[in-house]
């Protein structure tokens, strides 16, 4: 059985919020209920509840992949710090990922890098989203 993989880097951040995106709602709900690796049907199509970082971490666990993933995660972290929206746990995750890599625990390292990268990407999303939406929270 052949799987078609369609990567949609859909950073859906139109002002008006998540409510305007029923797919995002469905995805979040399924993710919250079942965690990663769960498939669900939406509008006749089948989807997985995985984040892109988790897909990357599912690649073969070896030094090359783990090194690349850690580098990508660090790069993402630098980007989110540049806009001042870093999260506190990311640094520790990156450090642990580095240690795991040195210790030859490639899968652990890749999982940690994936988590760190997810944090940083979410921080960036948060930054983008806030540019449009912060004003909505101001009491009139």
């Amino acid at each position: 059985m052949k799987k078609t993989i369609s990567l949609v880097a859909a950073l859906m951040m139109v002002s008006g919020g998540v409510a305007a995106h029923p797919f995002n709602d469905a995805f979040n709900e399924q993710r919250a209920m079942y965690g990663k690796g769960h498939s669900f049907t939406w509008n006749g199509q089948t989807y997985l509840t995985d984040h892109p970082e988790e897909v990357a971490a599912a690649a073969e666990a070896n030094a090359t992949n783990a090194t690349a993933l850690l580098a990508a995660a660090k790069d993402q972290y630098a980007q989110v710090l540049a806009v001042d929206f870093g999260w506190t746990l990311t640094k520790g995750l990156l450090k642990s990922a580095g240690k795991a890599l040195e210790a030859g625990k490639f899968q652990d390292s890749m999982n940690l890098s994936a988590q760190a990268q997810y944090h940083s990407r979410m921080g960036l999303v948060q930054y983008e989203q806030s540019q449009a939406e912060w004003i909505m929270a101001v009491p009139q």
Partner: protein, 286 residues
């Protein structure tokens, strides 16, 4: 069976603005109206807590919560910051190596001026907080700058605040530079940060007097009037910017730079919101 893996980003951030009362203008330099913002915040709290007098907001959460107020009053009866005021007075009056002192850097010799800070400084083109002014004074006189968050700077700030008690905050926004700083601070205040995805406003506007775990966040109105504070949690005296860092870490965000543009502008915005209230620092907090 065909499985399409759709990798989706940017979906986990909840969107929780109270749309019925939310502003839509005031986002740009052209439309922002600080005075209207201030009155809107006041009326927000007065609608929520009609029994609380406006002037009482300088007491923070203790204006709203009677049981904590009782303990706080017991503490304020003989507050732990009194040693710091005394120490701050000594530090304040100490002359620098060049013979000058802090009094030479401030109007009125630095006595009773807390309510004028933070202020827009045209020559520097930025907001100057009291702590920044203290360190600028030191550096202008050939002294080393002090650490921003606690210790000597907090004690000097506490003494200066103490000499300004009951003086009314009346921050001015003299030009577009100041207005831009205000707007920037306003945006920071209402912007969600960190893994917990919370803004200052989440806890201190909508969330004021609503339990967050075991804590009751204080109202944004009058939020900054009593700084610096001796927090029981810290066991010593700390500046407002120290507290900002703590708050930002609490929502699991990497804190913004202490006394950087962002946090100075935030302090300016927050203090402007408390215009009309009195300076009552230093304070004791839990």
């Amino acid at each position: 069976m065909k499985i399409i893996k759709v990798l989706l980003a940017g979906v986990s951030l909840a969107f929780l603005a109270s749309t019925s009362q939310a502003a839509t203008s005031g986002k740009t330099l052209a439309t922002v109206d600080p005075e209207a913002d201030r009155l809107a915040l006041q009326s927000h709290f007065q609608r929520r807590f009609p029994q609380v007098a406006l002037s009482d907001y300088v007491n923070g959460i203790y204006a709203l919560d009677a049981p904590s107020r009782e303990q706080w009053q017991d503490i304020e009866d003989f507050p732990p910051y009194e040693f710091d005021i005394e120490e701050g007075e000594i530090l304040f009056n100490k002359t620098f190596a060049n013979g000058k002192s802090y009094a030479d850097c401030f109007t009125n010799g630095g006595i009773g001026v807390r309510q004028n800070f933070p202020r827009w400084d045209d020559s520097q083109g930025k907001i100057v907080t009291l702590e920044l002014a203290i360190n600028q004074c030191r550096e202008a006189n050939g002294e080393k700058a002090l650490g921003w968050e606690k210790g000597k700077i907090a004690q000097i700030s506490a003494y200066m605040a103490y000499t300004s008690r009951d003086n009314v905050f009346d921050l001015k926004i003299p030009n577009n530079g100041a207005k831009a700083a205000y707007l920037d601070g306003k945006q920071t205040f209402y912007t969600r940060r960190g893994q917990l995805n919370m803004s200052c406003a989440n806890c201190h506007v909508a969330g004021a007097y609503i339990k967050i775990r075991a804590d009751l966040p204080g109202p944004a109105l009058g939020h900054v009037t009593h700084f610096p504070v001796f927090r029981s949690k810290w066991g010593n005296l700390g500046t407002l910017q120290r507290r900002y860092g703590g708050c930002q870490k609490n929502v699991r965000g990497v804190p913004q730079k202490t006394q950087g543009d962002k946090l100075r502008n935030l302090e300016f915005f927050q203090t402007y919101m408390s215009n009309g209230l009195v300076a009552n620092g230093p304070g004791a907090r839990k």
